[in-house]
Symmetry: C2
Subunit: 396 residues, 2 copies
């Protein structure tokens, strides 16, 4: 077990190698709750949804489940009727081996789009995946779900609720094709807290909105984004209900975990050398602040300027200007890592100093629009030659 | 005069060097009509507009003008009250030298944002710019307005209207920060046709919509985009009125010129190695077709895949899926340079052949959504390491 990562009670894990994309690594993971868990999820808003996403969206309506099977190396997206059959068959195999109800198993996939899953290699390994449950660590799960990720991503937190210690832990994968609404991002959250369905739903929605939905690497939203949470109640607390103190503690803890995982995703952005925090303050509304921050975060010109240590704040103000949010450039202040480079829409003459500050591997950009009280923060990374190399060669 | 570029009667040009960004090249150009011209324009929809854009938007309400002064090397954007004064003073100086009404002179700027114009170097050169009119060619104008452009961009066409030969010619500059609504794109169209104001307005709107507004290089919309057209009537035709045969001939000719100029801009996209044509067919509406095509054209993952000769059509369908337009992936056909790689949302197994076809420097992507009759074409280019290098180092 990784030092410092707390694992909630009543969950077990396993991983196997099915050589989905290539041999040499574990590429299927199983997360099993020992008892029925309350579950909810958040899914891509892309009109084109991978088969496992469509399957999980049906199953999540029950509000419960026992297991999640995840494969990397193949997204099982744009695979037609066969794709749906493959996702169902994967779930059924695990359910059969573990004597679970078929619909209590969820399936997630990530990887290349448009290639059917190699079921001839996957199916023979599933009984072993089921029987080996308990032999793998949460780290192993985090590693098995990686695609172009360069490190496994985990976080956990412990809180007292209702006199009991409850634990929330999460793993995720990201790297490329990350945009609001969780593009090619998979996140699995597990907790031993007992949580009512409505409360779990509200807490996840709130946590996702300010974490996974406020990160962007390249502006591309995938067909497979999924965040699932399982709450199995093994901590023995009275089920957390909406609006209670316990709820707020739980929601804050979950938000914390999601924010931590989201930050890890951006830190591991394909080819990225810098973590960039875009804060838009005092927009007319929070939605307008978010829209302006997202436009800046997705601007190729902004991202390349930051990569090049160039305090080219004109690109920041231009991106805010075309975001669709109200911007009066004669009021805009912009600071880069604490140094004001633009006051009331004009240069302060400190770009050279700012260029130096941009050499930091963490860059904080603050735009103060002075039009209202809406504030939002979006995380992104710089855009480098390495991103191009990775994505020009991804399938080859 | 460049071989093959026809120049409309009654226009003269000049250029001077003011070392705006650096010395060594002509960086201010003047286009003068010998008589009052009917004028109309199309401007950036960015909320943050450069001073010259705001000035021209006021002046264009008169529907006429005599001259356009253009500088490269500095956008005169985010330059506050001073920026507006500088733009006005530039126009006034030319007007004084040429004994024109002050408001009949238009000003355009392109280059870095946030730095005031070096008026101490510009103002002394303006009388010479005015007096030298007639000494420069249209090529010289095209060269003077370049920023990171690698070649001057011109086009012209001749048509018979009302028994007279009328000529339309245009210059433009582009290269980076190109997105719909004409990001850092300047285009100047001149014609000796006599055209009524309403007809000129309609013809320009129609031509821009399917040309400059359907190209994208990096998805960034600038503070300075401007297309201006001057029609001085020197051809002696009866003024072209809306809805007449002459109007349709003129509109088609203008659309042709704008499309040609727009294509040149994309061909010269920063760091680009390929011209990419994205055609979305049979969307529910033309607007949905355009939105899907634009999402694909702006996708970093699509652009890097094309750069890498990777027929990764999953990225195409994913981008269409998140565009907001209706997409039913089980109906989508995709072809790359004529080869179908995806039929009804599934692989045809011909990606390797398609990879070979992508080595062509012109790539045509066709998505057939089979949902309606809306069709649109967007031009873009691939995304390369060179784009990153250019934009990470632009100001340094």
């Amino acid at each position: 077990m990784r030092k410092g990562v707390h694992i909630p009670a009543g969950f077990r894990f396993s991983t196997v190698e099915a050589a989905i994309k290539k041999p040499g690594r574990k590429d299927i993971a199983l997360i099993l709750s020992d008892t029925d868990a309350v579950m909810t999820g958040s899914f891509t808003r892309n009109a084109v949804k991978a088969a496992p996403v469509r399957l999980d969206m049906q199953r999540i309506r029950s509000g419960k489940g026992r297991a999640i099977v995840v494969n990397s190396g193949n997204a099982n997206a744009c695979t037609g009727v066969r794709g749906m059959k493959d996702a169902e068959e994967t779930a059924r195999s695990i359910a059969d081996s573990l004597h679970l109800k078929g619909t209590s198993v969820y399936v997630c996939s990530t990887g290349v789009i448009g290639t059917p899953l190699p079921m001839e290699r996957i199916l023979p390994r599933l009984p072993e995946l089921a029987s080996a449950v308990g032999t793998a660590t949460f780290d192993d799960v985090a590693a098995a779900i990686m695609t172009t990720d360069t490190f496994p991503k985990m976080a956990s937190i412990r809180k007292k609720i209702d006199g009991r210690t409850v634990t929330i832990a999460g793993v995720c994968k990201g790297a490329g094709m990350i945009c609001p609404n969780m593009a090619t991002m998979l996140a699995f959250l597990i907790t031993d807290a007992a949580v009512e369905k409505a409360a779990l739903k509200a807490a996840l929605r709130s946590a996702v909105r300010k974490s996974f939905n406020r990160i962007t690497i390249d502006g591309d939203m995938s067909t497979n984004d999924t965040a699932l949470i399982m709450a199995n109640g093994a901590a023995g607390n009275a089920p957390i209900r909406l609006g209670t103190n316990g709820y707020f503690v739980f929601e804050a803890a979950l938000s914390h975990i999601c924010a931590e995982l989201a930050t890890l995703i951006v830190k591991d952005g394909e080819g990225a050398t810098k973590l960039v925090e875009i804060i838009v303050k005092n927009a007319r509304t929070e939605t307008e602040a978010e829209r302006a921050a997202m436009a800046i975060a997705n601007s190729m010109l902004v991202k390349t300027a930051i990569y090049g240590n160039d305090a080219n704040w004109g690109r920041l103000i231009a991106a805010a200007g075309y975001s669709g949010s109200a911007v009066d450039d004669s009021r805009v202040d912009i600071s880069l890592n604490g140094l004001m480079v633009c006051r009331n829409g004009m240069a302060t003459g400190r770009d050279k100093e700012a260029n130096e500050l941009l050499k930091n591997t963490t860059v904080t950009v603050v735009l103060n629009l002075k039009l209202g009280k809406g504030t939002a923060k979006v995380l992104t990374c710089d855009l480098t030659e390495e991103y191009i190399r990775i994505n020009a060669e991804y399938r080859t």
